[in-house]
Amino acid sequence: MKDQPILEVTGLTKHFKIGRKQTVHAVDGVSFTLKRGKTLGLVGESGCGKSTCARTVIRMYDVTAGKVVLDGTDITDMDQKQLKPLRRKMQMIFQDPYASLNARMTVRDIIAEPLLAHGIVRTKTQANDLVYPMLEQVGLTKEHANRYAHEFSGGQRQRVGIARALVLQPELIICDEPISALDVSIQAQVINLLKDFQEEQGVSYLFIAHDLSMVRYVSDDVGVMYLGQLVEVCEADEIYRHPLHPYTKGLLGSIPIANPRLARQKVKSSMEGDIPSPINPPSGCRFHTRCPYATDRCAQETPVLKDAGGGHFVACHQV
């Protein structure tokens, strides 16, 4: 049981229909496994399907195709009623700490909501016994419990969101860009909090971000997404040292360097143009329209994710 991955996603596909004819290919055939107590980072440009992927995994959206296995249970086709007991195992932290907390509820009610929903406690007074320690764990105090979300700073709000996700003691937490709406100084505070919980309780994170340096810091494995597809997956340090996919190289090349001397030596990023529309994704390798190494083959044949040695998976014809 210990070796069983907490989350196994195989060929996950999510299409949205717009009108009668058009379909948005938000996520197309994404597969990954997340080991217990580890963190998988998902990175990519805006609109590449990271958030949709997360929301489909947590079954906020119905799955178009593929399979999601949570802790050995296939949750792909479960309805919301069947899912409810499993929700205790999997929680989510949202991107916008301002939009993800109900403005009409006090912090106590926000954190007590999951406890009440799952029948762990019956009354709000009973919930206090669990809510107060939880608040302290995320660095807030009892006095904050009666406050409304808008009275808090962004970092404090995000910690309330984390407390809400953690109060059920889940095994998997999906973090949908939990730090991108925060101040840089607060980002570290929140990340360290998440890391502490991982060490103490062995939770696993599916960590979605577009801040590459932060992902390197938190993740054990990193997956790079482009236009709904996973183009490269491997161990975090490896991907930063030896990126294989041209898109990953481009992404890493876009990290600004603080030292101007080093910055001058840097080879300019070779990626041009914008991300194509997911309504009509390019044929073959979806990156071929922007790839500096593209050949005719790339436009026709879709590359599959293959092992390039040492658990470094990449989907590119050139590798």
Binding site: R55, R88, R104, T106
Partner: protein
């Protein structure tokens, strides 16, 4: 402190402290409500009207249906003529009868008519043995000394027996006003209940469920709202008979459609917000999501709608009463009082103005309260 530039000690607790005062939700709402003068004015106005409508009838000597044909169409401010002995005054009614008015402004008995001098145009009345004349050849009719034909000195006094005067059947307008206000407030209350329960639930479920459910539910709303309420009331009256119960049933079955539309719109825009998604991933039930997340967050526009609907419900009842298909006589509603008054609008305009002013006051009161409540219930505007 010698070293003003040194670093202060700061514990982690201080850093996370919120320095604002903590208040309960109700205390908070009340705090913001009472700092809005118009809201307080509206609240006081409605409270006064409530006392007026429900406690008022205990203090009057009249009932809403008591008729006294001796005192028909007496205005609240009377023009009276002093009696020769100065002990009383005379008031000339529209029917050319003479009422004895005591000096404190209360109405007394009618004087009996002795005879009439047609050539001089004077009617002679008996006032405790003294003869007094009413000259009716020239307007305004005057009380005169039958010997010298000189008018007695005239002055105006307030009507102490009927503070707001009497109507065309000699009923006390003040008492009828109390009962009329009671009906209006009851209609307001029913409109609120119906809107808050049926409107919010119907709109909320429709918006949250979406898809086919939404389409069907909204078509029902469309159908209901296409039937004019007046027609609807008339149809219900055919079955249930006329009266307040027909109006209540009509309001109860149709008056929530506007609210349902507003709530549905709000829910549609709110249900894709992250906090609702969060509630879904937590595993909260649909009921919790609807009643704890969606409805409280649309409370602002719900209250705006309610405050617009209450006056319109009151006005609708008054309008039906005015048309004569609302409350039936002798029951009083502000609308039927206005209707009764139109017949003698030229001679007794006060009969129309008084109920009309009360309708205005009720509407003002509810509008002000709603405005204040909307701001008070929004925690984002917290001070």
């Amino acid at each position: 402190m010698d070293d003003k530039w040194g670093m202060l000690e700061s514990t982690n607790e201080d850093r996370e402290k919120i320095w604002k005062k903590n208040r309960t939700f109700a205390g908070d709402v009340w705090f913001r409500f009472r700092h809005k003068p118009t809201a307080i004015a509206g609240l006081i106005l409605i409270l006064v009207l409530l006392v007026f409508a429900f406690a008022g009838p205990l203090f009057t000597h009249y009932s809403y249906s008591d008729q006294n044909l001796d005192v028909v169409n007496i205005p609240p401010v009377m023009r009276v003529y002093e009696a020769p002995d100065g002990q009383a005054c005379f008031y000339v009614t529209q029917a050319l009868k003479v009422l004895r008015v005591n000096n404190d402004g209360t109405l007394d008995t009618q004087l009996s008519k002795l005879r009439e001098d047609y050539t001089a145009g004077v009617a002679i009345f008996d006032y405790d043995g003294t003869e007094v004349g009413l000259s009716y050849f020239v307007t305004p009719y005057e009380m005169v000394d039958p010997e010298t034909m000189e008018a007695y000195p005239a002055r105006t006094v307030l009507n102490r027996s009927y503070l707001f005067g009497t109507d065309s059947l000699g009923r006390d307008i003040l008492t009828r006003l109390m009962y009329g206000t009671r009906v209006s407030l009851m209609v307001a209350f029913i409109a609120v209940i119906v809107n808050m329960v049926i409107g919010i639930l119907f709109g909320g479920i429709s918006g949250y469920a979406g898809g086919m459910v939404d389409t069907v539910m909204m078509r029902i709303v469309d159908i209901i709202s296409t039937i004019p309420l007046t027609l609807y009331v008339i149809l219900i009256m055919v079955i249930m008979g006329s009266g307040l119960q027909s109006i209540i049933v009509a309001l109860g079955t149709t008056y929530w459609v506007g609210m349902a539309r507003v709530v549905r719109g709000q829910v549609l825009s709110l249900k894709n917000q992250e906090f609702v998604m969060a509630a879904k991933t937590i595993g909260s039930s649909t009921k919790t999501i609807l009643l704890q997340h969606l409805v409280p967050n649309s409370m602002g526009s719900i209250l705006v709608t309610v405050t617009m609907l209450i006056p319109s419900a009151i006005f609708m009842e008054a309008f039906l009463g005015y048309l004569g298909i609302g409350l039936q006589p002798p029951l009083a509603s502000l609308g039927t009082m206005c209707n009764d008054a139109t017949a003698n609008l030229r001679t007794c305009p006060y009969q129309l103005f008084i109920p009309a002013i009360v309708i205005c006051l009720i509407m003002f009161g509810f509008n002000f309260i709603g405005d204040g409540l909307r701001d008070a219930l929004d925690p984002k505007l917290k001070k």
